[in-house]
């Protein structure tokens, strides 16, 4: 059982990016009440912005792979701002008109946007997956009981900070309180004078900005491809379902659970690497059978 501490640590580290991505999805679902099937594409676009930045910076600065800290410092705000703008536009011109339409139309719309984004990216850029040869990706931090790559630690730290900041925003600021109010009671929020339309737009932009940040951190760990959105989306879905739809507080616990479960399964179950990628579905299916309202409600 020597591998246990390592497995647990990897599981926790893994859950960082999960929480970051799923929180955005939970916000758009909880506040606006729309399932955003294009959430994974926000992550994908964020990753491409990070990747482009890495190519540009490593060429200009001559730093080569060592450009990592710069990619984070510049890439996070840049991709967040770009994706916020994109999401605000998407909200105004496509989502807002269907808010009063049946659920089916809303889901079709975001699903259509997702297909549009994936294939447009694959035509304009290329369908091939690309590697960012960043430092940290394979650099090991050797402690006495585990070896971890810097990339994982960086991703976890950034995720933890951003998730924490988002919770602070929700708990303390006026906009955050307005968002929670809208999530709790749409009509009541309108009656007390909350500009619900502006709150929706901000919530959607925020969810995309969080996804974009996750995308930038993703390029340290994996290849960038136009098709990485779907897997990301589904794992986020399983977390959101586990937490209970629209339950923002449960997202952290649910992410930890998925991260740990995936790591434990791939480590200890024979043939587990194969099962790991199907685990999100097992979670969704089990939750829907046992307690569809989510574990903590």
């Amino acid at each position: 059982m020597e591998a246990l501490p390592q497995t647990l640590l990897f599981g926790i580290l893994r859950s960082g990016l999960y929480a970051l991505t799923a929180l955005g999805l939970a916000i758009s679902l909880g506040v606006i009440g729309v399932v955003n099937f294009a959430h994974g594409e926000f992550v994908m676009l964020g990753a491409f912005i990070g990747f482009w930045l890495y190519l540009t910076l490593s060429g200009v600065s001559g730093l080569g792979p060592a450009v990592s800290p710069l990619v984070i410092v510049i890439g996070l705000p840049l991709s967040a701002i770009v994706l916020y703008a994109i999401a605000a536009g998407v909200y105004r011109f496509t989502l807002r008109p269907v808010l009063r339409q049946p659920e089916l139309n809303q889901m079709l719309l975001t699903f259509g946007l997702s297909i549009l984004a994936v294939n447009a990216t694959s035509i304009v850029l290329s369908p091939q997956a690309k590697d960012a040869n960043l430092a940290w990706r394979f650099d090991l931090l050797e402690l006495d009981f585990v070896n971890v790559t810097f990339a994982r630690i960086a991703a976890f730290v950034v995720s933890a900070v951003l998730v924490g900041a988002t919770y602070l925003l929700l708990a303390r600021t006026k906009l955050g309180k307005q968002m929670r109010a809208v999530a709790q009671n749409r009509l009541g929020a309108q009656i007390v004078g909350i500009p619900i339309d502006r709150v929706y737009e901000f919530a959607f932009g925020l969810s995309a900005a969080l996804a974009a940040a996750a995308g930038v951190m993703l390029i340290f760990q994996t290849q960038v491809s136009p098709f990485l959105g779907l897997g990301t989306l589904l794992k986020s879905f399983s977390i959101v379902v586990l937490a209970g739809l629209g339950n923002l507080a449960g997202v952290i616990w649910a992410s930890l659970l998925l991260g740990l479960a995936e790591q434990l399964v791939s480590q200890y179950v024979p043939g587990g690497a194969a099962l790991r990628d199907g685990l999100f579905f097992v979670i969704i299916f089990l939750v829907l059978i046992v307690k569809p309202s989510g574990l903590r409600r």
Binding site: L29, V35, F37, T94, P97, V98, Q101, P102, E103, L104, N105, M107, L108, L109, F111, G112, L113, S114, I115, L116, A117, V118, N119, A120, S122, I123, P127, L230, G231, L234, F237, S238, V241, L245, G271, A273, A274, L275, D277, G278, F280, F281, I284, F285, L288, I289, P292
Partner: protein, 319 residues
Amino acid sequence: MRRNLIAWAVFIAAVAVLPWLGVSNDRYLMLLANVMLMFMTLALSWDVVARTGQLSLAHGAFFGLGAYGVAIAHRTWALHPLVGIVIAACAVATVALALGVVTLRLRGIYFAIATLAFAEVLRTVALQFPDFTGGTVGIAMPPLFDGDRVLSYYLIGAIFVLALATSLAVRWTRLHYAVTAIRANETVAQVMGIDVVRVKVVLFVASATLAGLAGAFYMPFITHTDPNDAFDIGRSVASLVFPIFGGLYTTAGPVIGTILMRSLEEYLRVTPPWKEGYQVVYGLVIVVAVLFMPRGLLGLVQDLRLKRPDRRWAWRFSR
């Protein structure tokens, strides 16, 4: 209703005589005709679920399940494809029943999420079990009817007629009122005495079985498949784009939508710069349709027709 029935009878007759209009010897055109009927089946079956207000993103997966059902039945028990198709359809129905019973009693969101997750998990898991599915190499079987594309055309034609009949049956029986009520408001439908969950589950299982039949036909027709092809999400997308483009909640819509969009796709796939990215058109069609023409082409035509009588009257009076 009678006029529609006659129109559909004429359409089916036209489909039936098509191979004898000089097409039967052209293997490429026969391939297109077979595939067209296959996608019409998918589109019709997806629309039946949509009528209950549910978004199924797993029709491509049921298609793939049907394909693998036939292939595995052939490899394991050396069953004739025609027997295999029946077995595959039963297997698909069972899986759809399990998925439907769990998810369809909940809000529509859960169903959409669960079907998408189901579709993707089948693909990834199938890739990990090469002993069973052939892995990335895939699985092969001898051609259907020794490669006779006219005979296979009539087989998929029969499956298509089954889908058409299902779609029309939902339209022309009391089910039509049930699904319309469910789509408008589930709670109200429940209060009116409709067994909402049962209607949704029954239609979902029927629809998934039809998609499975289409896949079960596809496998021996194409003779080879692998998880990435069988469980290609693109097929789920196609099966929902075609009805949306043609006109949701109708029978003619999915048929017309398939003919037009599938022809366009055939052209785009071989034309740069679209190639593999031709699905960008699908995304665009969905977004534009939802925003500007929620009832598809049929709705557009109807609107035009409704406007025209006024003009005709004006013309008559002016004389």
